[in-house]
């Protein structure tokens, strides 16, 4: 059987993906340090400023993360057929069927692989939840970053109540991103092994392999 290359992910989506992935690595590492600084400089006059550097890195990575989330939201509306939000939600017959087939395949009940170009709907839904979590991360993050801004204070107070609550939610949502990353990397490799598309390379090249229709 022959395969053909099919264009799937735009360059903007791939940039979004790697911006988000890299920023999450930095945000989680520095974020864990900021919450519970594991080092203790102890001595005066070392000039190391570990907390200042961790926070600075966290904020830079935070802006990369913000940019990535904004790109994804843009692509949900204006992206190509695979990138639009309608392709991720179980709202069409094709999508609902795909969700069922994916669940059966993931639980080893069925071997049938529903071939489609974009995300399977289970993945699409999980990514959508992750973007929603990211939006709450941004709201709580900017609320804490700009304590003297009336706009962020108004937003933060109405969503979270006070800064401590925002910090708590910010920290709990971090665990979603860690757990998501573990499952995501595993399932992508799993799909790459079981399916024909070449899922791992598609996020670098933007191209997926599909069975060539005769």
């Amino acid at each position: 059987m022959t395969y053909e290359k099919k264009k799937c992910w735009s360059i903007l989506l791939r940039l979004y993906h790697w911006g988000l992935a890299l920023s999450i690595v930095f945000l989680v590492t520095t974020g864990i340090y900021i919450n519970g600084p594991w080092s203790n400089t102890m001595q005066l006059g070392t000039g190391l400023f570990p907390m200042a550097w961790m926070r600075y890195t966290h904020f830079v990575a935070g802006y990369v993360f913000t940019a990535a989330v904004l790109i994804r939201v843009f692509l949900y509306i204006f992206g190509n057929a695979q990138e639009r939000i309608t392709d991720c939600l179980p709202i069409t017959g094709r999508n609902i069927q795909n969700l069922g087939k994916t669940l059966l395949q993931y639980s080893y009940i069925s071997d049938a692989h529903d071939e489609r170009l974009g995300h399977n709907v289970l993945a699409g839904l999980t990514y959508l939840i992750t973007i929603l979590a990211a939006i709450f991360q941004l709201a709580s993050g900017f609320f804490m970053l700009f304590p003297e801004s009336a706009t962020w204070q108004g937003l933060g107070v109405s969503i979270f109540g006070n800064q401590q609550e925002a910090r708590f939610i910010h920290h709990l949502l971090m665990w979603w991103f860690i757990i998501f990353a573990v499952i995501h990397v595993y399932l992508v490799i799993w799909n790459d092994l079981t399916g024909p598309e070449g899922l791992v390379s598609s996020i670098f090249t933007g191209v997926k392999f599909k069975h060539k229709k005769a």
């Binding site: 519970g36 600084p37 000039g47 907390m51 304590p147 006070n162 800064q163 401590q164 665990w175």
Partner: protein, 358 residues
């Protein structure tokens, strides 16, 4: 020898002390020194604005804190600048006499007096959990507040409900702003710095309007920044020098209290800048973390006071644990699930044999 004992007991404010008080208030408000004469003028006008001070569900700690203020001696300044017509703790009248004073004041100065409320107001069961002179706190507030020129809530109880409103809030306590229409100035804190109250009153007297407020109704001159951002231990924070536990070597070195639960980074207040009691102290300067008492629901959200984050309550299980231990457990379960899933896949392939690539 100077008669210092009697001198300090003279119930009069000398000119020097008075000017110092006004200058202090001007500094707290962030006004230029050219505004000091205006403040002095406003504070010495013949017609002292009458003030009604209502006490509801509270511990009188805010009044206590006010009595301990100095530079200016706030107790005297309050009596000289304003006419404190009704204040249950310090007034001489009692019983029917006291109630008559309250009634007369709000009738005579309708729309002109300043109302200061200390304490939360219970609303459950028609507010029967706090009664004064046979009337509920709700009824008293509903009667007095609409007639006031300005309403100031002092202390975290009056602003956000305080400890009474902490879960499960058995008496349905709320702060003043939940019951009063129109602007309420929230001088939050447990207790708040008297400078914040004095500044607000002087601002009102001088400009005939309330100071600029933040989104929670707190005056920006006192609550515009976080304690953390003016903290004297902030350099230790940035350079990563922390107290690991109370009483350790780093605690003796006055390092940052972040790791033992200081809530300075989450708390809007001027404690680290203005400090208390004329001896330049506040909790962090004496080795205890900030507990975030100026923030809404601080009893529920800032606890445990000696941990960085609140605990996670897992619904239905009764489990209360810190966020990171829950996170690590969930991560462990996830990793185990991933491992099992992979193993099942490999097992299935071994049993069924590898299918030919289609």
């Amino acid at each position: 020898m100077a008669d210092t004992v009697n001198e300090t007991l003279v119930p009069r404010l000398d000119r020097r002390g008075f000017l110092k008080g006004c200058t202090m208030a001007a500094a707290a408000l962030g006004l230029s020194e050219t505004m000091v004469p205006k403040l002095v003028e406003a504070a010495t006008t013949a017609q002292r604005p009458p003030v009604v001070w209502l006490h509801f569900q509270e511990c009188t700690g805010c009044t206590e804190s006010l009595l301990r203020a100095s530079h200016p001696d706030l107790g005297r300044l309050l009596l000289d600048i304003i006419s404190l017509d009704y204040h249950e703790t310090v007034m001489a009248a009692a019983g029917h006499q006291a109630e008559k004073v309250l009634h007369d004041t709000i009738e005579k100065y309708n729309g002109k007096f300043v109302l200061i409320v200390e304490g939360a107001i219970p609303t459950k069961d028609n507010g029967i959990y706090c009664k004064i002179a046979g009337k509920t706190a709700m009824a008293i507030l509903a009667e007095v507040a609409p007639k006031a020129a300005a309403v100031i809530a002092i202390g975290t109880c009056a602003t956000f409900g305080g400890v009474q409103a902490a879960a499960p809030n058995p008496t349905g306590s709320v702060g003043v702003q939940s019951l009063v229409k129109g602007p309420v100035v929230n001088i939050s804190g447990c207790p708040p710095n008297p400078i914040a109250l004095l500044g607000t009153i002087l601002h009102f007297l001088t400009f005939n309007r309330l100071p600029a407020l933040d989104k929670l109704g707190r005056p920006l001159f006192a609550y515009g920044r976080r304690n953390h951002d003016h903290c004297e231990r902030r350099p230790h924070f940035d350079e990563g020098r922390f107290v690991e536990q109370f009483g350790d070597e780093f605690h003796k070195q006055a390092y940052c209290l972040y790791k033992v639960g200081c809530k300075g980074p989450e708390t809007f207040a001027n404690c680290s800048a203005v400090r208390f009691n004329d001896v330049d102290v506040w909790p962090v300067s004496v080795g205890h973390g900030c507990i975030g008492c100026t923030e809404p629901n601080f009893w529920d959200t800032m606890t445990p006071f000696y941990e960085r984050l609140p605990n996670v309550k897992i619904p239905g299980s009764g489990i209360i644990a810190d966020a990171d231990s829950v996170g690590k457990k969930v991560l462990g379960i996830t990793a185990a699930a991933v491992g099992i899933h992979a193993a099942v896949g490999i097992g299935k392939r071994l049993i069924k044999g590898k299918e030919d690539d289609k």
